[in-house]
Assembly symmetry: none
Homo-oligomer: 182 residues x 2
Amino acid sequence: MDEGMSGFCIRSGSVRGKSGSTTSSATGTKCGRWNPTTEQVKLLTELFRSGLRTPSTDQIQKISTQLSFYGKIESKNVFYWFQNHKARERQKRRKVSFDDKDVIRRQNSFNTSTQSLAEIQVSEPDRVIETLQLFPVNSFGESEPENLRLHANECRDSSTMFSYAVDEQIENPPLDLRLSFL
Amino acid sequence: MDEGMSGFCIRSGSVRGKSGSTTSSATGTKCGRWNPTTEQVKLLTELFRSGLRTPSTDQIQKISTQLSFYGKIESKNVFYWFQNHKARERQKRRKVSFDDKDVIRRQNSFNTSTQSLAEIQVSEPDRVIETLQLFPVNSFGESEPENLRLHANECRDSSTMFSYAVDEQIENPPLDLRLSFL
DNA sequence: CTGATATGAATGAACG
DNA sequence: CGTTCATTCATATCAG
């Protein structure tokens, strides 16, 4: 994983102007990460909208130089900006896809199998609940002497998330919640 | 710095108007940001507790759909919820890290009082879910030589970096803006 | 009404 | 490039 450092920049006169908006939001920004000024963002956005998506090294340099006029900035910031902007644009496209505005939600009952994978569920660690539980689920006999420390990290799932191999149906979750729609 | 779809509050506090989107749910509050209903939170929490930490796009979509039954909700809300929940839990865990005060204090008896987050890292490492995704999100059919790898290591100068030659992108769009410095 | 806290939202940075 | 982590910002909610 990453980690290894925690921005501890005590303080630094970050030129976080943010043109005209002295609204108490002084935000004692730390010097940890680049904080683009509105002018910089405006220009970057303009470039993006103009069609620039993956600037070359040269372009990045030039852009960076230009933007440095408005405030501190490094080439990598420009690089990252474009990377993120492009990615998020697409990501958002996906997440906000079907909105609930004029919801054309199917009022029908017929099952459109195109997208219904009503079987992906979240799996319980190891224990499968089969009996009725009258007490909190965490009362499982989860005892793992040594490993717990090593795995304390994060479930390192790769790109694709999980689904899971259902072996047994968790039909009766602790709280009467049905997670079967996943 | 763009969008035009979802709300977006510029840090400098200005554009306040939401593009009419998130209409709060329960408690008929004003719009502005999603306010999960108790049922929604309950379900989300349960999913999380069951091991789901970073739902895939598909899962998010499904969860969102399910939760929409209890109130207004969008996919991004679900996305953010998990993102935040995971982050905060880790954040909290780290804060109460070892070597703070009296290291020896707890751990011998799960605290009883409130049902806070006093969970001694019993969280399951990874055995969360196996994959079964029917349609992997990233199904690129191109084999692009991964060469570009940049990593800022010095914050002094950032002129020499980015040495990649990958770019079959629209190179130089006819920018008739004042961005001709590129 | 005001300050503190919880949490939704956004985004810079980086990993695989 | 898509995905994930960390930090920050803004606002809803709650305590006093």
